[in-house]
């Protein structure tokens, strides 16, 4: 995942560029500096779109807020109580970022309930509202009866905008019409932002964003709080546009609402998509390509095409203005990129393995070795032994019901998991087994009943809070984070046990470095334990089916659970893989006193390792007992086992 921030040659090139430009008389520094502001904006947008996977079509609104925060605080002309004070540029730039971040939270909050298309539409609306509001707040009068508390207040400058805006003051550096000081200011801010972003990406917060992008439900069930994670992405993404906007305002010396229209949001999105969403290098590349093309190539080639037109005598060419064609070229470029390289110019090329749900992977796995006691990570063992509570029942479910519309999925179900027990949950398809898991893990709300875990009620808790209490699960149809590495998948599991904050992730004090190193060691230990050593950097989706199942278990163990819910862990496995997994489950219980609730259709597995079994049919518990009792239970045979089961070789209970 790590990208270097550029070889030294690039740094030197960036440092000498303005002087070379001046020596050659090219006069491109202005355009390049402006371009860098847009690159910074695109990088901020990349946090929201590329990392957290939230499509934002109105990002220019945050750009506007940053610019106006600077303009309103730092312009000497307007007449509000805030104006006219000599606010320092260096203070305003932070205030602008803070205001943008705050608005990011305000905008983010209502959009969190919606996803995908709906989220995009809401951000689109927001992107339209801000410029309109700015236009209309240039002449505000509030009238209550005859009382006019506010009369003809010019809050934003309206259509005329704010002009001039105060310049930065730095002894010895003239921030005037010469673009070079601006260039270096933007370069420094940009480099610092990039540094902060790359550190955020490689922290627990960056992993949480990507987990949300990959599979929000699975992330929630792995201990990542989707609400705070998405809000953080919105706020941080907005704060970078606050920096960009405030520099833009001060550099241009004038801001008007027209600079923050919908097209700007789309251009920024183009930069991200062209370069490769989620890749810092790619977004920089995409941003530079588009701005250089827009600001330099189009205007220069206009002259060229005109002179060609004059020479060959085509009047249409002789009078052309290519800059008016910019959206045509952007559109064309975007179409070509989507067709030829949908992952973006610098996006990681993903091997076209069979579609997501296909278990059939091209490289056959070696027969997996049996799990070994010695391979259990020491820290996990210590954690488990320490956590082993005194209470007899770790999970106590009483009278839980759940209906979807008119269909009763669970009907007053009781189920107890004693500490350190393996409890089987079986029943016909559609009997409510997975619904039971969903209710216990907080994915579905109960309609009634009690769920107590380690003495505390779980009713009303969000899935990630339940994970933090100590319940982890796997899914019937594997739900990994497919485009994240194997190691990162496990690290997301550790998320709720790690503490690094935004400041910690960026500044990396020793405590955070140590925490991160420990987290990686633990993740590698867990991977070794489930038999996935040496695959740290593989994408999860490229693993063979059986390995994916084991990775999901490693991820669940990384949350340090006391109760593990396994939903058909051996589905789609061959007998040998099934045997390995069964041994692994037994080992977890025996060595770690981990309590396990198991949904499984492979009767050899269920009968072989369960202490007790609960049978559901049509949402109702029809039987509960030891494997031997269940095997003879007439209702279970009728509804579930069938008569053929007796023909299979019986496996004695341990």
């Amino acid at each position: 995942m790590r990208e270097s921030l550029g070889p030294p040659a690039l740094v030197v090139a960036l440092l000498v560029y303005p002087f070379v430009d001046r020596a050659l008389g090219l006069q491109t520094v202005h355009a390049v500096s402006d371009g860098m502001i847009y690159v910074l904006l695109a990088l901020g947008l990349n946090i929201v779109v590329g990392y957290a996977g939230l499509l934002d079509l109105g990002y220019a609104a945050f750009f506007a807020i940053g610019a106006y925060a600077m303009g309103l605080l730092n312009s000497p002309v307007l007449g509000s109580p805030l104006y006219g004070h000599a606010w320092s540029f260096w203070l305003c730039i932070w205030l602008a970022a803070a205001v943008s971040a705050l608005l990011g939270l305000v905008i983010g909050a209502p959009t969190l309930r919606v996803r995908g298309d709906y989220l995009a539409i809401i951000t689109l609306g927001f992107g339209e509202i801000i410029p309109v509001a700015i236009r209309n707040l240039g002449d505000v009068t509030i009238e209550i009866g005859t009382w006019r508390p506010i009369e003809r207040l010019n809050l934003t400058g309206g259509e005329n905008g704010v002009n001039p805006v105060g310049r930065p003051v730095l002894p010895g550096v003239p921030f005037e019409t010469d673009p070079v000081p601006w260039y270096f200011l933007i370069l420094v801010v940009g480099a610092l932002s990039l540094w902060a972003m790359s550190r955020l990406r490689d922290s627990r917060l960056g992993r949480a964003w990507m987990a949300i992008r990959e599979d929000e439900t699975a992330a929630d069930c792995t201990g990542v709080n989707p609400v705070s994670t998405k809000l953080l992405a919105f706020a941080l993404g907005a704060s970078f546009s606050g920096f960009a906007g405030s520099i833009y305002a001060a550099k241009l010396q004038a801001i008007t609402p027209g600079a923050f229209e919908f097209q700007v949001s789309i251009m920024l999105l183009c930069m991200v998509v062209l370069g490769g969403a989620g890749s810092l290098k790619g977004v920089i590349l995409g941003g530079m390509l588009i701005t250089v093309f827009d600001r330099i190539v189009l205007s220069q080639s206009t002259f060229l095409v005109r002179s060609i037109g004059r020479t060959v005598g085509v009047p249409a060419l002789a009078a052309i203005d290519l800059t008016l064609w910019r959206w045509f070229f952007f559109g064309l470029g975007l179409v070509l990129v989507m067709l030829l390289r949908p992952q973006g110019l610098a996006g990681r090329r993903v091997q076209p393995v069979a579609a997501d749900a296909e278990g059939d992977q091209p490289l056959a796995p070696e027969p997996s070795s049996l799990p070994r006691v010695e391979a259990i990570p020491m820290w996990l063992r210590e954690r488990m032994t320490r956590a082993a509570a005194q209470e007899e029942a770790i999970l106590d479910v009483r009278g839980v019901s759940k209906a979807f519309g008119g269909v009763v999925a669970l009907n007053a179900v009781d189920l107890v998991v004693p500490r350190g027990a393996i409890i089987g949950l079986i029943g016909p398809n559609g009997a409510g087994k997975t619904t039971f898991f969903n209710v216990v893990t907080g994915l579905a709300r109960t309609d009634g009943g009690r769920i107590t875990f380690a003495g505390g009620s779980l009713i009303g808790l969000r899935p990630n809070a339940i994970v933090a209490r100590g319940i982890a699960r796997t899914f019937q149809s594997i739900r990994l984070f497919p485009y994240m590495s194997v190691l990162d998948n496990v690290l997301v599991g550790e998320h709720c046990r790690l503490a690094a904050t935004v400041a910690g992730a960026v500044l990396r004090p020793p405590a955070v470095i140590a925490e991160e190193r420990r987290a990686r060691e633990r993740a590698r230990g867990l991977l070794a334990f489930v038999g996935l050593s040496g695959k740290d950097d593989d994408l999860a989706r490229n693993l063979p089916y059986g390995d994916q199942r084991r990775l999901e278990i490693a991820r669940a163990l990384a949350t340090e659970p006391r109760l593990l819910l396994l939903d058909e862990p051996t589905a789609g496995m061959n007998p040998r893989e099934t045997e390995t997994l069964t041994d692994l489950i037994g080992l977890l219980r025996r060595e770690l006193t981990l309590s396990i609730l198991l949904i499984e259709h492979d009767m050899e597995v269920v009968m072989g390792i369960s202490d007790r079994i609960t049978v559901l049919d049509y949402g109702t518990r029809i039987a509960e007992g030891t494997p031997a009792e269940i095997q003879r239970h007439p209702r279970v045979i009728e509804a579930y086992l069938g008569t053929g089961y007796e023909r299979e070789p019986a496996v004695p209970s341990p």
Partner: protein, 235 residues
Amino acid sequence: MLELADVHTYYGSIRALRGLSLSVERGEIVTLIGANGAGKTTTLRTILGLVRPRHGTVSFNGARLDALSTDRIVRLGIAQSPEGRHIFPRMSVLENLELGAFVRSDRDGIAPDLERVFALFPRLRERVSQKGGTLSGGEQQMLAISRALMARPGLLLLDEPSMGLSPILVETIFRIIQDINRQGTTILLVEQNARMALRVAHRGYVIQTGRIVLHDAAATLLRSDLVRKTYLGEK
């Protein structure tokens, strides 16, 4: 009826099928068994034109399939019940089934076939107006098989039909597979449950790392050492 000859299929640079040949005759149940990652699903994807073989030919009733688009192949009379079900989650059970019959021109035959799949899977009749995505995993499996049957295919491809089903339903599914076959549908069955698959199949192929390593009458395979040790889990 179906013939794959020396088929090589690649995913990028990874060879998934390495010269695979197999045939299915009209009226047969043929099963393809093998470990995860051996190339079973890739074989089905190649037949359906979802991936193109780089070498080799796929033909169906004498017509070459390897240059046709998937929808054309389906119209020739091949239907699949995919692994992982891939039902249409926001459409009702009935709409899912009706879409299965999308390629058919015999309007009159559709209603009796709907009755036929409801007779096979009474649970689907109970849920007929429910959205596909709200069904349990096993019910979705039934729906996927039924949807394929609604196309009245000459050749039915089943990818892990027993996955995620209760023991009693596994038996039912395999009985239904035999019923469907007796009613005239040829079946290519990919299964993890080798024991059951070989019990209902006429012939079987064993696939390892993209090649057929063994093929014989199903009853013979059930007794072979390789199959018993590797795929039936016997010691």
